[in-house]
Amino acid sequence: MTRTMVLWCPDWSVTAGMLELADSDGAVDGALDANALDTSAPAAVLANNVVTVCNAAARSEGVRRGQRRRDAQARCPDVVLLPASPDRDARWFEPVLAAVEELRPGVAPLRPGLLAVPAPGRYFARRGLDGEEAAAAVLAEHLARAGVWDSRFGAADDLYTAERAARQAPPQGCVSIPSGDSAEFLRGLPVTVLADDGPEGAELADLLRRLGLVLLADFARLGAGDVANRFGSYGSDVWRRVQGREVTRLASRTPPPELACEISFEPPLDSAEAVTFSVRTTAERFVAGLAERQLVATSVRIEAEFESALGGEGVSTRTWLHPRCFTSRDLVDRVHWQLQAGMATSGLRSRKSTGETITSAVTLVRFLPDVVEPAGDHAEGLWGGGAEEQVVRGVARVQAMVGYDAVRVPVLQGGRGAADRQALVPWGERPVGLRPLERPWPGRIPGPAPSRVFAAPLEAEVVDEASVAVAVTARGVVTGEPWRMRIGRHWCPIASWAGPWPVDEGWWLSAGSAGSAGAGRAARFQVVGVDGRAWLLRWRSPGSWEVEAAYD
């Protein structure tokens, strides 16, 4: 028969609150490290201005559960008051679960601060110690190393008794109830221990005390029918337990699946091709691992560790998005693109670097799923997409030739200028951060769009009949009739023109900040030269002209 061991961290809400407090102060860098924390400071967790949990230091000053905030502060002026937050407690308990899981799989979290494991058997037994006490000592030592100082253990035939036993244990100690003695142990406890079960238990404990019942043994002597009539379902539950008739087994949790895959290279590889070739099977394993759980990845983080020139180690990390979902072939391509950015020996043309440049031999490549979605949402249609697959393969070949960001997909977005209204997204990536198209965008020019939109505007000049530069006043009025224009080096008389369409964009941006290049007062003009060519010109305050686009 398997026995159950319970680990109890007393006053966990306070511990978690203090850990978070220390973490937000920057004293602890992410790890569960109580060394930097002054655990001896009195602290209490409050809900609705009433103390719900307090630590030993606060208790010694006279702070009690159920006290009001004002009373607690009166007893102990320097008590640290923490808000109640079940999420925080659970979040900080997760590392404890992981620490225990390292030694003993099959952990069942009961609630924050309380967990159960199947008791390790007699294999742990040392001379003079039984197996459970020895195992508890090992666990306590491991937890102390992870930063949890106050852990108490109880072992018994069933979960309920083990929990009661843990609450009786000294710090880092273990109370082991011999097999078959559970009911007897419970009967020896005072009724006040029921208060640990929550409000229901506190109510019952109070009632039993007022009825003159001191020990649970007195409660056990009542008849089954009387208990059911008078104390409800919770009461008869407790009664059955102290009679030794009900046994609760634990349901252990399944550790979360490990979906990340990695491959390390010994000796390190210094060419992108060699790495790309070697990660193929790992990429297939990664995709297959996801597929086993009916998942596909739509966003994957690829980490490549490499030896840095200075002898240390570097990591190149990049998150890749996929418009549909990643296949193993896509992943291999992404690794290639990420690596070829900086490897000098690979024989590939150097390109715009993405993230940290890789300068030397790669020791490890790791795939981490960032976003996974059910595979059913991404299944191919019944009739397949044969032609598209061919296109995808052909474009991948082009990307291998000229770099992944040299192949683009045009998409539309909202905006006023011609260049603002489109975005060229690298092939194989999902467009993010586009401006909404359906807004009215006042100030944009209606009608046929220009067929050529210059990425960098061309320099231009517009003058009136007297060869004076044309400008636009603050009220949007043209200072003179546009007569001639210069685009590049050629002057051309103007046949007809329309405008201005004044805009005042980004005036809130300070000069030099991101996006301030297009900021300020401006006005757009459509101008047709005598040769029949039409241009979209922009005048910018204080007085410069540029060509944004051409109606070619």
């Binding site: 296109v391 052909g394 683009r408 060229l424 046929p448 067929s451 109606y551 070619d552």
Partner: protein, 210 residues
């Protein structure tokens, strides 16, 4: 508001199979392809150019403006084919959509640089229509390599710029803009006098609204 009406009519017109002759032509071409004959199927054209020029797979067509390049690719794009643009570093996505190109089936290589020939060849392999703006002079040898590839893959190459041999060259002789005055109105419609010079025969002239 009003322009929207003008623009969105075009896609509706292309989907109709009004001209039975083109259907017969396509069927004949398909039969020829099955028989192993020369595979010169005609590619769907946008309505503005439909009667003016017949684009067949395996051919090279020259244009002299970006709008004409977009217009030649629009018909195939609307018919569900993939189209590509190589060397277009100033691609106007909104204009392309107004011409009838489906942006979701468009591949753009803005600046292939020195590898333009390899990139174009790779695109021709998988796309129906590739519009190319070559970076400079094109020698006859590169051109013939690409033409052989075009015939093998049944694709169409549209070149904006110089090319040694074109099946047809479409250029605008005269362009007029409507709706624009001196400080009033706006560009509404372009009327262009197009001339199509084929390999044999007289040039064909037509006035179209682009």
């Amino acid at each position: 508001m009003f322009e929207h009406g003008e623009v969105s009519i075009r896609p509706l017109e292309t989907t109709e199979l009004a001209d039975p002759r083109t259907v017969v032509d396509q069927l004949r071409g398909r039969i020829q392809a099955l028989e192993g004959g020369p595979t010169r199927l005609s590619v769907p054209m946008s309505p503005a150019l439909a009667g003016l020029v017949r684009v067949r797979t395996g051919g090279v067509y020259g244009v002299d403006s970006a709008t004409l390049g977009l217009a030649l690719a629009a018909g195939a794009s609307q018919a569900g084919e993939w189209v590509g643009f190589a060397g277009w570093d100033d691609f106007g996505a909104e204009a392309a959509q107004q011409q009838g190109i489906v942006l979701g089936r468009t591949v753009l290589v803005p600046s292939p640089g020195e590898h333009w020939l390899e990139v174009t060849a790779a695109l021709v392999d998988v796309l129906k229509v590739v519009v190319l703006r070559p970076p400079g002079g094109v020698d006859a040898k590169s051109a013939s390599v690409l033409e052989a590839r075009l015939r093998a893959r049944s694709s169409v190459l549209v070149v904006q710029g110089e090319w040694p041999r074109c099946d047809a060259r479409i250029s605008a002789e005269r362009v007029e803009w409507e709706g624009i005055g001196h400080g009033r109105g706006r560009l509404r419609e372009r009327r262009a006098a197009l001339v199509v010079r084929g390999g044999r025969g007289m040039p064909v002239r037509a006035e179209v609204a682009l």
